[in-house]
Structures are given as structure tokens and as C-alpha cells.
Amino acid sequence: MSVVLEIAATGVAAGFLAGMFGVGGGILMVPAMVLLLGFSQLDAQATSLAAMLPALGAGALRQRHFGNVRARAAVTVGACSLAGVGFGTVLATSLPEPVLRVLFSILLVVVAFRLLWEVRGRRRAPLAQEAPGLPNLPVPEGPAPDRVGSGL
């Protein structure tokens, strides 16, 4: 298979991950560009950010059609992650990356088990937990208790 076909196939697979799991697909595209095209890590990461844009746009429209997008939450997370990137870029020079990778890997495995535990809980209590997606009811934070005395 020619390199062009391999790169295009990587693109399809990366897009599939985006549609299925809500990620950008850089996890596949970056190593593909390094290994197949001989890109440096920086060139590959930079190019992957541009390469994932068509899939992010198409995927966002598709998921919105399915009712799977909460716009306000997305805008808040997106805007704040931009601030986080700026902060992270400053930090990046002062922290050992291999240690970070190991710690992050452990975090991912812990999160994976947490997600599986949730599914297990739902399956064990199918009727009592029929609406497991309901968030905890917000506790009113208003100044009601203070009013009781001062209103007199």
C-alpha cells in the first residue's frame, strides 16, 4: 500500500475515533506522520491540529443533529482550555515529561475503571436507577435563612 493510501486510511480511522469517542484523533495522526512521512514531533502535532478541523466540524454538526451537544458547556470548556494551554506551555519547560506521561496513564486507567463501575451500577439496578443521568438537584444557596429574623 502506498504511503498516500496509508495516510488517508489513518485519517478515516482518526475520524472514526472522533465520531465514536469525541476526541480529535491526534493520537493516531501524530505517530502516522512521524513514522510514515518522517515528520518531526512538532511538525506532526502542529499539522494534526489543522488536520482534525474538518472532522471536528462535520462531527459537531452530526452530533448536534443527534441532540448530543450542550453548547453552553462546550463553549465554557473550550474557552477555558485555551487559557489552560497558555498556562501549560509555560509549565512545560519545568516538568519532566516522562513522569507526567506515567502519571497521566495511571489516571486514564483509573478513569476507565470508574466508567466501567458506573455501567455495572446501572445494570445492577435497572429500574430504581432508571434516570441515572439526572444531575444532583441544586441546593438553593439563597439568603433565605437570614431573612427569617431580619424581616421582623
Partner: protein, 130 residues
């Protein structure tokens, strides 16, 4: 600390968590070179109780902000190879439709189990690089 009864601003607690999720996702993606999605999706699910499909759809919109900004900045600096970006990106746009379509056909629990397996695979890939 008292707010306006939480009527016009639904869930101040949720907003704070969304801000935290965004900041942490941004910091980690800069530090590790992973996209924010790998963190945003489980955070929305575990911390805010989003159904997994809603978490993935919302994540796609959220990480567009960082991808767009990153691509623009790196592009101006000359690090983006436009030809390769198109060669990956156009097929990816087809792949995302396949992925979203399949996801829609699966139950939320199945998607969540598959996502957990994906996380473990990514953890393995990161360890190999470390």
C-alpha cells in the same frame, strides 16, 4: 457567595466545574501533546453526569477551540504542512460520520465500555513513549 437564586444562571456549581475541566484539559494537552478530548469526555461524564454520547458530542465542539487556535498559531509559524493536513483531514471528515453513526446505533453503556477500553489503550501508548 449567595447568587440570584440560580434561576437565570442554571447551576453555578456546574459552571465552576466546566471552567475547571477546561483549564485542566488545556494544561495537560500542552504538557503531554494529547488532545483535550481524552480528558473532557470522562470529566463531563464522571463529574457532571453527562450521558456518554452527550459528553462526546460536546467535547467535539469544545476541542475545536483549541485545535483552531493551535492550527492558526502553528500555521503562522510555518509548522503546518497543508497538503498532509488535507490528506488526513478529508478522509477523517468521512470517518467521523461513520463513527457518529455507529455510536448512535449503540447503547450508551456499550459506548461507555468501549470508551473505557480506548482509555486503557491510550494509557498503554503513553507508557510506551515514556
Amino acid at each position: 457567595v449567595a447568587r440570584d437564586g440560580g434561576v437565570s444562571v442554571p447551576g453555578a456549581g456546574e459552571s465552576r466545574r466546566l471552567v475547571g475541566i477546561g483549564l485542566v484539559a488545556g494544561v495537560l494537552s500542552a504538557l503531554l501533546g494529547v488532545g483535550g478530548g481524552i480528558l473532557v469526555v470522562p470529566a463531563l461524564t464522571v463529574l457532571l453526569g453527562f450521558p456518554i454520547k452527550v459528553a462526546t458530542g460536546t467535547s467535539l465542539v469544545a476541542i475545536t477551540a483549541t485545535a483552531l487556535t493551535g492550527a492558526a498559531v502553528y500555521g503562522l509559524l510555518g509548522y503546518v504542512d497543508v497538503g498532509s493536513a488535507l490528506l488526513l483531514g478529508i478522509p477523517a471528515a468521512a470517518g467521523v460520520l461513520l463513527g457518529a453513526q455507529l455510536q448512535q446505533r449503540l447503547s450508551g453503556d456499550t459506548v461507555q465500555i468501549a470508551f473505557a477500553a480506548f482509555l486503557v489503550a491510550v494509557a498503554g501508548a503513553l507508557l510506551v513513549q515514556a
